[in-house]
C-alpha cells in the first residue's frame, strides 16, 4: 500500500514536472530487468515507472506478452517476434534491428507477482494520463478485465480524478471489484449501485455474482439490480429501434416531401421524382470532385447546388412535357416514367454504371454514446434534424410567403387566380421546380446513407408514393406523420420478421389501408365527385 502511494505521488509529480529526464536514466533503471531474481525485476519496474517514458508501456506490455528479450551481447532490451527459425528484433522505440538467431537473445521471464505489478503499472500509466478521454477508455479497458488487485489503484484515482465523467466510471469499476471481493455491506451497496448501469461488464458482473452469492440479503439486492438492468436493456433496445425507425422515417420524409409538393399540391404524378433525388446525389459527388480539399464543406455547398440542378431539371420537365398533360394524370405518369428511364441512362452514360464513392465528412461519422447499449450514429441524427428543417422551410414557404400564396391560389382555383393577375403557368413551373429541387436536397442527404448509382431513385420512388398517398394527398403534415409512422413501424417489425418481410408487411398494410381510406390518413375535407 505504501509503495503504491509512493509510486502514485511520484507519478503525479512526474506527469507535471519531469518531461526532460534523460533517456540514459531510464535505461539505467530498466537494466534491472535483465537481472536473474524477481526482486531485481520488481525494483526495476518500480524504478522505470518513476519516469514518464513511452518505452515503459512498450516494455511492460512486452513482458506481459512474453515478447521482451535482451540481447546477450550488450544487454539491450528488445521486442522479439518469432519468424521462422530466427527472431525479428525491434527496439523499444519501434526501430527494426534485423533478424537474429535464438541463441543471441534471452527472454525476460516473469512470474505472477511481477505480472500483477506490471498490470497495475500499465493501468496506472493510462489512468494518470493527461487526456480525459484516454483516462476514460483506460477505466473501460480495466472494466473488461477486472482484478481484485486494482482496487487500491482505483480508490486512489477516485480521490485524484478531476473529471466527473471519469470519476463516475471509476466508481462503477470500484463497484464491480467490490461486488466480487468486498464484505457483505460492500457487496450489497455495489449491487445496488450497479443496477441501472448499462455497460456489458457491469451487467456481466451482476450475473456472475447472482450465481455465486451466498448471503441472502445481498442476493436480493443483486436480483433486484439484475431485473432492473434487464428492463433497462429492453428499454434501450426499444429506444434504439425507435431511433432507427425515426431515421428511416426521416429518409422517407426527405424522399417524399418533394413529391408531396408535385403530387400533393399540383396533382402531377412525377414518376421521375426518384431521378431528381438521384441527380441531387450525383451533384454531391460532382461537388466533392470539384473541391477535393474541402470535403468537410462539400455538403454545405452541395445542398444549394443540388437544389438548383434538380430544380432546373424540374422546370425543364414541366415546361417541356408536363404542361401539355395537365388533367391527364395517367399520361403524365407514363411520360414521366419514360423520362425517368432516359435520365437513368443519361447518368449511366456520363458517370458509368457503377456506384460512385461519395465521401462522408468527418463531422458526420462517429456516434453519440448514450450508454453502453445505446449509441446514436451522427449521420442518422443529422438526417433526422435535416429532414425536419427542410419540411419546416417548405411549410414556411408555402404558408407565409407571397410565392406560397400564389401557389395555393392557383391550386385552389386557377381561373380565379388568373383573373387576379397571377401568371399561373409561371407558378406551375416554379412549384414543380421547387418540388424537384427539394428532391435534389434529399439526394444530398441520401448520398451519405446509400450507394450513389443510376438506380438510386428507383429504390425510393415506390416508397415515396406510398408515403404521400398514406399521409393524404395535398397535406404536408400528413406526409410527415406518414413517413415517421412507416419508418418506425418498419423498424419495430424488423426484429420479429426480418427486414424484407417487414417491408412487405408495410406495403401490404398500405394497400389495405388505402382500401379503407382511399384519400389517406389526413384527407382534405369536402364533398367531391370523381370524373
Amino acid at each position: 500500500m505504501k509503495t503504491m502511494l509512493n509510486k502514485l505521488l511520484g507519478l503525479v509529480g512526474l506527469v507535471v514536472l519531469s518531461f526532460g529526464v534523460l533517456a540514459d536514466d531510464w535505461q539505467q533503471a530498466a537494466s534491472g530487468l535483465t537481472g536473474k531474481s524477481s526482486n531485481h525485476k520488481l525494483a526495476a519496474i518500480e524504478a522505470m515507472l518513476e519516469f514518464d517514458d513511452p518505452r515503459n508501456a512498450v516494455a511492460l506490455q512486452g513482458m506481459l506478452d512474453a515478447e521482451l528479450y535482451y540481447v546477450k551481447a550488450d544487454r539491450q532490451l528488445v521486442i522479439a517476434t518469432k519468424s521462422g527459425r530466427s527472431f525479428l528484433l525491434t527496439d523499444l522505440q519501434g526501430e527494426s534491428l534485423g533478424e537474429v538467431a535464438k541463441s543471441k537473445i534471452k527472454r525476460i521471464t516473469v512470474n505472477n507477482r511481477i505480472r500483477r505489478e506490471i498490470r497495475s503499472g500499465l493501468a496506472m500509466m493510462a489512468l494518470a494520463g493527461p487526456d480525459e478521454d484516454a483516462r476514460f477508455s483506460a477505466v473501460r479497458s480495466l472494466m473488461a478485465n477486472v482484478e481484485a488487485e486494482q482496487l487500491p489503484l482505483v480508490e486512489q484515482r477516485l480521490v485524484a480524478e478531476t473529471s466527473a465523467k471519469v470519476q463516475d466510471k471509476l466508481r462503477e469499476l470500484q463497484a464491480i471489484i467490490l461486488l466480487e471481493n468486498g464484505d457483505d455491506a460492500q457487496r450489497q451497496s455495489s449491487a445496488e449501485f450497479l443496477g441501472g448501469r448499462m455497460d456489458a461488464p457491469s451487467r456481466n458482473a451482476l450475473l456472475r455474482a447472482q450465481s455465486d452469492e451466498q448471503n441472502a440479503e445481498v442476493l436480493a439486492a443483486i436480483n433486484e439490480s439484475v431485473a432492473r438492468n434487464q428492463q433497462l436493456l429492453k428499454l434501450n433496445r426499444a429506444a434504439e429501434n425507435l431511433y432507427f425507425g425515426l431515421s428511416l422515417g426521416a429518409v422517407l420524409l426527405l424522399a417524399a416531401v418533394g413529391l408531396a409538393i408535385t403530387f400533393g399540391v399540383m396533382g402531377v404524378i412525377n414518376m421521375a421524382h426518384g431521378e431528381m433525388i438521384m441527380l441531387g446525389a450525383y451533384t454531391t459527388y460532382v461537388v466533392q470532385q470539384l473541391m477535393p480539399g474541402h470535403i468537410e464543406l462539400s455538403l454545405v455547398v452541395a445542398i444549394p447546388a443540388a437544389f438548383l440542378v434538380s430544380g432546373a431539371m424540374g422546370v425543364l420537365i414541366e415546361r417541356g412535357i408536363i404542361r401539355f398533360l395537365y388533367g391527364r394524370p395517367l399520361e403524365t405518369l407514363l411520360a414521366t416514367f419514360g423520362l425517368s428511364l432516359v435520365l437513368q441512362q443519361l447518368v449511366r452514360s456520363i458517370f458509368g454504371p457503377l456506384n460512385q464513392a461519395v465521401i462522408t465528412p468527418q463531422w458526420l461519422s462517429g456516434s453519440l454514446e448514450i450508454n453502453g447499449v445505446l449509441a446514436l450514429t451522427y449521420n442518422r441524427l443529422y438526417i433526422i434534424i435535416f429532414s425536419f428543417m427542410v419540411v419546416a422551410a417548405l411549410w414556411l414557404l408555402i404558408s407565409k410567403t407571397f410565392f406560397g400564396l400564389q401557389v395555393r391560389a392557383v391550386t385552389q382555383n386557377r381561373a380565379m387566380a388568373n383573373a387576379m393577375g397571377i401568371r399561373s403557368s409561371w407558378v406551375d413551373a416554379m412549384t414543380f421546380g421547387l418540388g424537384s429541387g427539394v428532391a435534389g436536397i434529399a439526394g444530398v442527404a441520401l448520398s451519405q446513407l446509400t450507394n450513389v448509382g443510376p438506380n438510386l431513385g428507383q429504390n425510393y420512388i415506390i416508397d415515396s408514393f406510398m408515403v404521400v398517398v398514406f399521409g393524404g394527398v395535398g397535406n404536408l403534415f400528413g406526409t410527415v406523420v406518414a413517413a415517421m409512422t412507416l419508418g418506425v413501424a418498419n423498424k419495430l417489425a424488423e426484429p420479429f420478421t426480418g427486414a424484407v418481410l417487414a417491408k412487405i408487411l408495410v406495403l401490404v398494410f398500405i394497400i389495405l389501408f388505402i382500401q379503407k381510406r382511399p384519400r389517406g390518413m389526413f384527407a382534405l375535407k369536402g364533398r367531391m365527385v370523381e370524373d
Binding site: 388533367g327 419514360g338 423520362l339 441512362q345 386557377r414 406495403l507 370523381e530
Partner: protein
C-alpha cells in the same frame, strides 16, 4: 340469335380478322420452317428464332390483357407483370416437379433448391403440381384469385385512377420482394430453372419448341377472340362507359365495381396464361419478372400500339419488343433512351398509338384546312384529342371538355384539387 351477333362481330373487325389469319398461318408455317427444312435452307428457322417469336406472342397476349383493362375500362394497372409472373411460376412449379430424379441432388420429390436449403418435406403449396391439369388450373386460378381479392377490395372502396396504379405497382413490388426470399419456397433469387421436359417432351427439342410456339399463337388468337367478344358485348359497352365517365355510369345504375372486377380477373387470367406459355420457352422464371419496370413496359406496348384497339396492343407488343431485341443487340446503351423516348413521344403526340396515326393525320389535315395554317395548333390539339381518361381521384374537376380550347381549360382540371 347470339350466333349471328358473333358472326357480325367477326365480319366487322377486318384488321383483327387479318391478324387472326396471320396468327393461324404462323402457327403452321413456323413449325414447318423449323422442322421440315434443314439448317442452311433459305426457309429454315432455328429454334432461337422460334423461341424468340414465341416470346413475342406471349408478350402480345399480355398486352391484350393489359389493353382489356386499360384501353377498355380505364384501369391502369401497373402490376400486370405480377399476374404474368404468377402464371409463369405455376408452370415453373410443374416443370420443376417433372425434373424428378434428374436434378443435381437426384431427390425424387424435392426440387434441388429445397434440398440445398435442407428442407425435408415438400411444402403444402407445392402439392399437386406434378399433375399437368392441376398446374394449368393454377395458372388460371392463382392470378385470378389474387386479382379477385385485390380488385374486390380496391374497386369496392372506389380506389381509382392514379391511386390504383400506384397500389398495383406496390403489389407487384411487394410480391417481388417476397419471391426473392428463400423461405418462400420458390427458389429465391435464382427462381425456377433447369427444366427438362413438359408432358414427357424434351424442352430442348425443336419439335417441342415448335409446338409451344403454335400453342402460343393459338392462345393469342383465343385471347384475342375472347377479349373481342367481351368488348363487343353489352358488357363491353358498359366497360367503355366506365372508362369514359365512371361516376356517370354508376349514377345511371350500373354496379361499376362488379364490371371492373370481372374484367380485371379475366385480364389477370389471360396474363397468367401468357406467363405460363412464356416460361417453358425461355426456360426460367425468377422474381425479376415481378419488377415494376416489366409491368410498365407492358403498358408502353399498349400505348405505342394504340390502346382501345385490341390488335393495336398486339402490334405494339411486337414493335417494341422487336425494337428491344434489335437495340439491346446493336446499341445496348441506347435502349433505355429509346424506350423512355417512346413513352414521352407516345403520350405527347400519339395518344391513340400507331394504329390511331392515320385517323389522327387525316383529322389534322381536315382541321388545318378548316382553320387555315395555324402552326401552333398540332401539339396542343392532339393532346386534347385523346379520349377522356378517368380523372385523378381527388379532383373536383368537371367532365373533360373534348372539343374545348386547348390549354387553359385543360390546365384547370389538372390543378383544381386541394
Amino acid at each position: 340469335m347470339s350466333r349471328s351477333i358473333i358472326v357480325s362481330f367477326l365480319m366487322r373487325d377486318k384488321v383483327g380478322n387479318a391478324l387472326l389469319a396471320v396468327l393461324l398461318a404462323l402457327a403452321i408455317i413456323v413449325p414447318f420452317c423449323s422442322l421440315v427444312f434443314e439448317p442452311g435452307d433459305t426457309f429454315y428457322l432455328s429454334s432461337y428464332w422460334v423461341t424468340l417469336l414465341g416470346k413475342y406472342l406471349c408478350y402480345a397476349l399480355l398486352a391484350v390483357a393489359v389493353d382489356l383493362v386499360w384501353g377498355y375500362c380505364g384501369i391502369l394497372s401497373l402490376g400486370h407483370g405480377a399476374f404474368f409472373a404468377l402464371g409463369g411460376y405455376a408452370m415453373g412449379m410443374y416443370l420443376m416437379r417433372q425434373i424428378g430424379e434428374r436434378g443435381v441432388y437426384a431427390n425424387p420429390l424435392l426440387p434441388d433448391f429445397m434440398v440445398f436449403l435442407n428442407w425435408t418435406e415438400l411444402p403444402w403449396y407445392w402439392q399437386g403440381f406434378d399433375m399437368f391439369g392441376f398446374a394449368m388450373l393454377m395458372v388460371l386460378l392463382v392470378p385470378g384469385a389474387l386479382a379477385f381479392l385485390f380488385g374486390y377490395l380496391a374497386f369496392r372502396s372506389r380506389v381509382t385512377g392514379v391511386y390504383l396504379s400506384i397500389i398495383t405497382q406496390a403489389l407487384t413490388y411487394a410480391l417481388m420482394l417476397a419471391f426473392f426470399r428463400n423461405d418462400m419456397g420458390f427458389g429465391g433469387n435464382n427462381g425456377l430453372t433447369d427444366f427438362k421436359d413438359i408432358l414427357g417432351f424434351n424442352l430442348q427439342h425443336s419439335g417441342t419448341r415448335a409446338a409451344l410456339f403454335s400453342l402460343s399463337a393459338l392462345a393469342l388468337a383465343g385471347g384475342y377472340l375472347l377479349c373481342r367478344f367481351i368488348v363487343n358485348s353489352k358488357l363491353g359497352r358498359v366497360l367503355i362507359a366506365i372508362r369514359d365517365s365512371e361516376s356517370r355510369t354508376r349514377f345511371i345504375g350500373y354496379r361499376v365495381e362488379r364490371f371492373k372486377l370481372f374484367v380485371f380477373v379475366v385480364s389477370a387470367m389471360l396474363a397468367g396464361v401468357a406467363g405460363a406459355l412464356y416460361v417453358p420457352q425461355v426456360g426460367i422464371i425468377n422474381p425479376g419478372e415481378f419488377a415494376p419496370l416489366n409491368s410498365i413496359e407492358s403498358i408502353v406496348w399498349v400505348a405505342v400500339g394504340g390502346r382501345g384497339t385490341l390488335f393495336g396492343a398486339i402490334f405494339g407488343a411486337w414493335m417494341v419488343n422487336f425494337g428491344k431485341t434489335w437495340f439491346t443487340g446493336a446499341f445496348p446503351e441506347l435502349w433505355l433512351f429509346f424506350l423512355g423516348g417512346l413513352f414521352v413521344v407516345t403520350t405527347l403526340w400519339l395518344p391513340k398509338g400507331v394504329v390511331g396515326l392515320s385517323a389522327q393525320l387525316s383529322k389534322m389535315r381536315r382541321s388545318k384546312a378548316a382553320s387555315g395554317a395555324n402552326t401552333e395548333a398540332p401539339v396542343q390539339a392532339q393532346a386534347v384529342e385523346a379520349e377522356p381518361q378517368p380523372q385523378q381521384a381527388s379532383q373536383v374537376a368537371p367532365e373533360p371538355d373534348k372539343q374545348a380550347e386547348p390549354t387553359p381549360k385543360n390546365l384547370d382540371q389538372g390543378a383544381a384539387n386541394v
